[in-house]
Every structure is written in C-alpha cells, then in structure tokens.
Symmetry: C2
Subunit: 239 residues, 2 copies
Amino acid sequence: MTYELHYWPGLQGRGEFVRLALEDAGADYVDVARGPEDAGGGEAALVERMERRQPTPPFAPPFLVDGDLVIAQTANILLHLGPWLALTPIDHGGRLWVNQMQLTIADLVAEAHDTHHPIDVGAWYDEQKEAAAARAKAFREQRIPKYLGWFETILERHGGQWLVPSQITYADLSLFQAVEGLRYAFPRAMARLEDRLPKVGALAARVAQRPRIADYLLSPRRIPFNEDGVFRRYPELDG
Amino acid sequence: MTYELHYWPGLQGRGEFVRLALEDAGADYVDVARGPEDAGGGEAALVERMERRQPTPPFAPPFLVDGDLVIAQTANILLHLGPWLALTPIDHGGRLWVNQMQLTIADLVAEAHDTHHPIDVGAWYDEQKEAAAARAKAFREQRIPKYLGWFETILERHGGQWLVPSQITYADLSLFQAVEGLRYAFPRAMARLEDRLPKVGALAARVAQRPRIADYLLSPRRIPFNEDGVFRRYPELDG
C-alpha cells in the first residue's frame, strides 16, 4: 500500500518530520504536491484533497492519506505511522512517551516559526521585523536551551543512544530535524550552545548516518532549507 | 485507582482540559497542587514530582500520574485517558480523528496565549503590550474565525450533536473550554462572530448542561477565568 503524503511543495516545513519517518523505514509513499500534474500530483491535487467535502477534513497540511484514513497534524500522523514503520515501542506507555516527546518538538517548531512571524502568520516577515528580533532573542536565550536541555537530560539519565534506550523512534528522527533546522536558522546561537548538548548532537549525527537517511539527505527528495519553511536564516535574528 | 493531576494552582490553563474530562466521567482524581501541603499537596509537591530524577520527565505541567505512568502534554494525557473515561471512539481511525481535533484545539490555545505574550513568555504582559495589540488583532480577525469555522464545518457536514456523531468525546469538552475562554478574553470579537457559528455555540451549551459538568462549573473546583491563565481579559486586546 502506498502512503500519500500531502504537503506544500518547495519547503521542508512540518511535512519533513513525516518524510524522515517514511524514508528511514523505506516505506512506499508519494509526495503528492511535488508530483507531476498529469499524474494526479501538484499543489492543486493537495488543495482538492484538503477541501473535498469529507467527514474528517484536515485543518492544514501536512496530512497523510492511508486507505480510507485522512490524517492531519504532524504528531498524529507519526502516532499512526509509528507502529507500521517500527519506529515506536510496542507498549502503551512507551508509545505515549514518544508521542509526548514529539508534541514537545512540535511546540519547539511552532516557537521557531514564530521568531519570524511573531505578530501575524498572514503577513510578511518584513512587516514584523522589529517584533521578530525581540522574539528571536528570547527564543535563542531561553527557549532553545530549555527545549534542547530537556532532551539532553533524557539522554543523560539512561545513557543510551536514542531517546528511548531500547530502539530508534520517530522522535529521534524529529529531534535530528529540529536540531538541523535550528543550526540552519541560528548558526551563531547554536554554535555557542552545542558544547552543552553533546548527547543531542551525537544523536543528530547518528540519525544522519543511518543508511536510508544518508541516502535521502543527498537525494533530490530532500528540499534544502530555505526562507519559505519553518526554520529561516535571517542573520538579524541570530543575535 | 486515583489519578493524580499535576497543574499550577490558581489558574485553569491547560490543566482545565484534563479536569473537564475527569469531571465529566466522574473519575476519581486529586488535583495535587491544589491540595493541602500536610496531605502531600501544594505547588511544592508538583515541582518535586516534575523535577524528580525519572526516565520520562515532564517538560511542563499539566502532567498526570497514573500508576507507573507519568504523562505530560495535554493532548497526550487525553489520548491516554480517553478510552478509560469512555470519551473517545473504540476504533483506531476514530481515536486518531479525536486526537487530531484535540491537537488543533491545542494550536488554538497556544495562539490565544501568544496574544498576551507575543514576544517573551518569561516577561510581563506590560512589557509587550504593543506587540500584543497587533497579534491580538490578527488573532481576532483571522485565526479565531479560521479555527472555529473549521469546527463549524465538521458539525455541519454530519449534522450531529457532537464532533464525532456517534458519541461525546474529550474533544467536545475541550472545544467547550476553548469557546468559553475566547468569550472571556474577547467578548466583543466573539459576540460579532457567534452568529456564524451556531453549531459550535450549541455544542458548547450542550456540554455546559451535562449533569457532572454543570455541577463542576458551580463547584469550587472550577477556578474562575483570570489573568494568570491562557485566556485573559485585557480589554485593549479585544479591539
């Protein structure tokens, strides 16, 4: 069965957390909006699928179509995929813990987004640069250390390679993506911080070296970071 | 078995979404930080439980202790409780859909919070009032209609009383809380909007009339809305 991933073409955004899980597992999927229009792809196909009169409409991309299920919200998609991709523990408590970590990454990602859009998600960055500078300062100095410090603590406590000591999970892949995004958007702030986050850094390196992830990162399927995504490099926001 | 809910005393905040589910189900729970210190309660008990050296530390309250499980992130707590409280469907797809709606409410709640803290969650509202006014305007004019309009659409499509037509779920209780919070924080904006949201309004009224919820809302367990919570009444943010 082929999964249909629907996300805006041209940016990593929140869709990337789903892509990494599908890629690491070698799952069969199509990235619908990036496909050719004459084969049912393109952005119009995404919009049609989202706006169709259906009982469970997505609020926003990304969403996954898996047979009869139409599933939105990044963490919810991963909650669904986790067992099928063997990227979550088998036990209930373990799955809740992975979901909890994923939701905390989602909060971090939302805050990273708001560094360039602190006032109005519908307006341009240039219209909210002053507020963005202030929000980015608080994010760099307080929020990134708090979030990544929490993950460092988790890894320190059990001494294992992954967030769940017994196995890799989708939360590891997502933490890699968050760290990569923060390095892209805030290279100076992250360079100052990373000495205090050796285990998070080692985890991110370990994810990047997984064979399927390494292949993916070098493939044209991996969209480069850019200023349309969640993580944007605006040097004035990097302090 | 008694559930232990841990949340900051003195405000509804995100803990309220969990309280409403526990109350509607008539579940046995203690609201730890609101209990007397000589019986193991108080804010110090919450902090101790959160900062204890444990393998799955909460990033922030609310968190629920259920036997050996320590579960944080509001939507994750409800995902866990849903089946035990009979507040979620039995089937996998139904549970994912309820979780998806809950995560969308969580996004709405985070944006409501950021109307009074658009720059720095660690600073006072008075230090970010100008940015707050701008963010609140975008929130009132674009975001509230988009979020609540989505729920209205869901209810219109199936014509039922609850978000899932076959039964009440924790997402209904949370939507009630979100609507009540928005009415408290943005009474003028909501008064203008509600004509266009008859089904959402009727759902909220239906939740308030459920016997256990009606009792709860009149009890001292229900903390009044106030300016320490997520939803704050600052008239200058209401346009």
